[in-house]
Amino acid sequence: MENYALYAPRLVNKEEKFTPGHRACIGCGEALSIRQAFKALDRNVIVINATGCAEIFASQLPYSNWELPWIHTLFENTAAVASGVEAAYKAMRRKGGNLPENTKVVAMAGDGGTSDIGLQALSGAFERGHNFTYICFDNEAYQNTGNQRSSATPLGSATTTSPIGNKSIGQFSWKKNMPEIAVAHNIPYVATATHGYPFDLMAKVRKAVDTPGPAYVHILSVCPTGWGSATDTINRQSRLAVQTGVFPLYEVENGVYTMSIDLPKLRPIADYLKIQRRFRHLSDDVIAQIQKRVKLEYQKLLEKVNVTKRTKSKSKTGSRKAPAR
């Protein structure tokens, strides 16, 4: 383990495809996640970027922080644009076009662009089976426009459109489970990741891009500006999200769930909530309610891991003992 800590960072690709000099806020978890994600990849990638923080802070005419072919068009259509790029390469290659080998298509959007306004286009692209990777950089609200709630904002979070008040605890609904929606499309690869676990994040992005067919990676990206948290603790917040069970790290490969980290015991969610201003108004009752829900969801996830593992091993045995007809 000591050796790993010493040498592993040196194994990381030094090459930046997402270069420094962008305009992200200090302590931006999304910028860090993007940097990690593209370190995991080679230069054979075409990036489709939705409108959002990352698009705004890294692409002002006439500058760009991208050393990869990159396109932004609109907010909600990222997966559809990616479908077009993928289909174009497929057709042109088949028809003898002179194109570089093994080109990968990576679409990226925020939580609003993915789980709200872009969900239909994403669902369509998953269902049609395009060979592309979609990365959702989830900072749990519309942070680019100033912290308005999205369907990915967790219960109780104070945002500018789910403000706290005499009749409001902040966000009134539970966070939409976007990775599960991706899983429901029966795509070959779905994973969750966060920048506090960089090697895990990089391995998953790499795996996603190497998977033929649609792949989805949901990356929790701490937003100190919107969340009201310390800019020098974003990786701690990211890890606490995992260790409290608020944001479990897992993979779903061809329907089979695997946990990425073994957590013998979840930390109390208060450890995570108390270091963020967006949650500081929450009463003990609400915190208890959230705690209950987090445990329940975590349990459900562990059960999926067990069930799909069992099914996988059973089906293997089954195939060996296929009855003769």
């Binding site: 230069r43 054979n44 990638v45 075409i46 489709i48 698009e55 705004i56 692409s59 002002q60 005419l61 006439p62 500058y63 760009s64 991208w66 050393e67 990869l68 072919p69 990159w70 396109i71 932004h72 068009t73 609109l74 909600e76 259509n77 997966a79 559809a80 644009v81 990616a82 479908s83 077009g84 790029v85 993928e86 289909a87 174009a88 390469y89 497929k90 057709a91 042109m92 088949r94 028809k95 076009g97 194109l99 570089p100 080109t103 239909q120 286009a121 669902s123 369509g124 269902e127 049609r128």
Partner: protein
Amino acid sequence: MVTRVGVEVSIALADAVKLANPDVIAAYPITPQTHIVEHLAELVANGELDAEYIPVESEHSAMSACLGSAAAGARTFTATASQGLALMNEVVYVAPPMRLPIVMAVANRSLSAPLSIWPDHSDMMSVRDTGWIQIIVENGQQAVDNTIIAFRIAEDAKVLLPVMVHLDGFTLTHVIEPIIFPTQEAVDKYLPKNRFPLPLNPDRPVAMGEFAPPFIFTETKWAQEVALNNSKKVILKAWDEFAKAFGRKYLPVEKYHSEGAKVLILTMGSSGETASVAIDELRKEGMDVGQIRLRLWRPFPFKELREAVKDADVLIVMDRAISFGGPGGPLASEVKAAFYNQAKRPKVVNFVISLGGRDTTVSGFKEIVNKGVDIAAKGSKNEYEIYGVKE
């Protein structure tokens, strides 16, 4: 040898797309565009057309996929109508400033509400200011020819703009007409390979669609306007060379007995042929009347229109859409703008006709011409009239 075959115009248009050999077709079905995309799906399914057919989940995604495909350097086609065009409106605006040469057939149909699947021009007018080149045809042959021509215009290095080919729904899309199909060899000669100059390619990274702060935004719009206006030269050349290769000539403003006529009727789209029959009859009856037909809606052919109308005293403009609360029909409003600063200008009389598929017949057009002449002489308190409306 030239052979004419009887074929439904939608099928013929799809066959014209096939002759253009596109790489990607992304489309969502909507009446009355369906037969176009169904036939394309069939051609791909049978291996007669080597293309990727993306059966997208909405028109918004259809146009979005087209953006991606064209940006990757592929020859790209889609088709839509009415609500579909309205739903993709946001994306329609993106293609021209990003200089993406997409070709789209629009089976013109009215916009809800109330729901109507029948033709008028409210959909094509809703995208008037998006920066696309807009060609409108009035029969099946023109639809076939201009679909092929549209690819050549769009992908020309001097243009690199998307092109819409408008054909009226049902009146054209669902009728069987005699069509002359160009041979594959002749089309290949006429339509060069798509060579999009800066495609998305890892070997040569480019950034497309960055955001523009105020210091540069105006310049991007200026560049877009210059590009659209400059496209006219290429459009004229493409039509000219098409005439040389295939013998059928198209012009931004086409004339029918208009030379020297004092009264002119201006039509756009499929109703033009019915109007021509009315013109024949009126001329037989001794009236000095002619017709002009608009083929190019954007960029608007101001020069050609002024030239075609130079001898006329009365210009009766037929619109198939209303600009609500405004000056009447969008076409008349454009025509008035074209003549306002001219020393000699005709009296412009505007009728809105054939909304939501209601027929305007030959006798209807004759009545309109007579009424128009009367209004031109006596004046009217109304800016325009909706022909045949039951008030």
